[in-house]
Symmetry: C2
Subunit: 430 residues, 2 copies
Amino acid sequence: MKEVKVGIIGFGTVGAGVAANILGNSDVIAKRANVKLVLSRIADLDITTDRGVKIPEGVLTTDAAEAIREADIVVELVGGTTVAKKFILDAIQAGKPVVTANKALLALHGEEIFAAAEKAGVDVYYEASVAGGIPIIKALREGLVSNRISRIYGIMNGTCNYILTRMENEGADFTTVLADAQKLGYAEANPSLDIDGFDTAHKTAILAALAYGRWFGLEPVHVEGIRDLELADLRYADELGYRIKLLAIIKSADGKVQMRVHPTLIPKNVLLANISDVFNGVMVEGDMVGQTLFYGRGAGRNATASAVTADITDVAVNLAAGSVRRIPAFRPGEQFSEVLSMDEVSSRYYLRLQVKDCPGVIASITQILADKGISISSLIQHERREADGTVPLVILTHVATERDIRSALAELGVLAINQAPVKLMRIEDI
Amino acid sequence: MKEVKVGIIGFGTVGAGVAANILGNSDVIAKRANVKLVLSRIADLDITTDRGVKIPEGVLTTDAAEAIREADIVVELVGGTTVAKKFILDAIQAGKPVVTANKALLALHGEEIFAAAEKAGVDVYYEASVAGGIPIIKALREGLVSNRISRIYGIMNGTCNYILTRMENEGADFTTVLADAQKLGYAEANPSLDIDGFDTAHKTAILAALAYGRWFGLEPVHVEGIRDLELADLRYADELGYRIKLLAIIKSADGKVQMRVHPTLIPKNVLLANISDVFNGVMVEGDMVGQTLFYGRGAGRNATASAVTADITDVAVNLAAGSVRRIPAFRPGEQFSEVLSMDEVSSRYYLRLQVKDCPGVIASITQILADKGISISSLIQHERREADGTVPLVILTHVATERDIRSALAELGVLAINQAPVKLMRIEDI
């Protein structure tokens, strides 16, 4: 049986998980895959902090170059987009295959890294970069290879899903739940990457690239986070039969791809709406397979390690079988090469206005929508007059374009009867 | 780009789907996998019936041997366990890799087929044999390779799930819904393979083999179907917060594996309970990844074709990369080699008795359970006296062994106050 030396760079949470996985389960991996994974080196600047894994003598080092030199496979778990990139390119230049979980780096510099890997003739795998332990990249790249992909919906940020689940279940507001999530370690001290949607956008860019054969990068992904989400909107959504999720949406039609991340109303009875807490779920729709859904833990030491170690095993099997680059990290194919501009995107919409409670209000609002060709699917106005004499008015529309809804919003915003910024969210019926 | 000739044996529903998939999507497959799939031959005794796919001139043949001879990859879609086995072994002996969707054949003769494939040095892949379009075999074999698998739960028979969903939603009884399912083509004229649980048992045997490295075969799988399920039981389950699903259960502990298929109460709020209609779902729990779930269409022309064509592509990539048997069809590893006998299985139980409405009834029943060490978690007796003076009594127990519950059931069965056979079902809290 071939022995394969694994060098890990970055001994943080995930690094410790991968070390534990290799140390604890290399026997079962060997039985299944006929390769023996050996932990050769773990490099980190800090090799004294106890990470809860007993690492064999002589494995820890502060010298990343040494870890690269001695390894058959280099595992980058440093994170970030600077030094991590250097380690990966160094490994590739040394002819070593690379496994990484670094979504931000791939979303920003994927093309450069994959080009270097192609030139050097080595594998670069990155299953753990999207949806943690869920083998969604393998599913898209191999399991669903025979499908033209029409839609992908992803709940891919555990922090946001945890916050939304608690807001919904407990009626607690965003700030309170965020503070609690930070205390519990589910949210970072600086939570922006998660709650402003950027982490989900990184993953969206990676999935879209795999589905459509072009490395789009981050720029064309429209991103809105959950920071401004009000409890009132979760309650109206609930009343109307919807839940609100931070959803990654990738769709293709007529040779154009759209990519967006924003809070989205989805019907309560679909499976995706029932993915709660820190869990992730990705729905992939193909022309042959129909709708599929992949669910599991999107983060955390062990779940992420499961994906990283699966990649390591895949690369090790390639080394053993002499089939390096059997399936390259990314194969450009340009199944769809154009990106749909956000203006052209069509959606159903949720609008919440805070209006003066006086005659003619609904008439003037619905007239503005009608003038833009936007038709209303439902409307709620409750008898809930605020101290300032205003009432909330919630409208769900049929499908309209972003351009038209934005244009309507501009007019609604300056209406004298409108007493607050209009809240807008998008609806996906899935 | 390597061209790979695909020969299909069996031009039924799935055969037509695979042909359509290759003809329609070989361009996108080529872009992703760098292999060009070419439909070389389709063999069937009936090559005149219109299958809804336009097959190029000269591809259809009645000669299976010819299809095997001319192909680089042989796809067996005949079904059954006799002639299908011969075709597969013929192909293997001719040195041709094989893709099949034949769960019954693999569950019964997997070892023989895989031994032949090993001897001949060819690949045999079978993704479509379990849960249709869901890439669950690839997930177990590759995506979750680094996990010790503790539990697998599967809803893997679309016919049963469709029947149970309709019984639950409409309050219709089993016989009525089955007749309707047969009319709609969701159930066979002879529905036994589906509704008596055997189809699910075949799939259970395959998943257990992959998870635990031993080809157990069908014999150790305990099987009960849904034929005797009464509407009353679905209603009580609902009242108690459960749904009833025909569930495949694979668990391992202390070096022993248990495999069973039976109607099972699962809590309504878990994702698996929300898999409805003809859809399938498989939950896999590993020591690293935690709980994952894979969802999609478990049957049907296109979904099954998606899995078959993914396998064809995988084999084609092996041929192109010179990495035949990179990952064998099945690698014996004996992670768990003993099978837990059904007597030793522990579960929570649902019991429904039809008892005389007289003093001391509950006391005498609960005493029998107490004598066996079986403790009660809930009990319902409604004021619903039947014409014959009996009332239904529903008991949920805490965990007990099959041996103890069977022994209690024998005593309950002969109680004078008990007026009908005791209904027993198992509960999984997932």
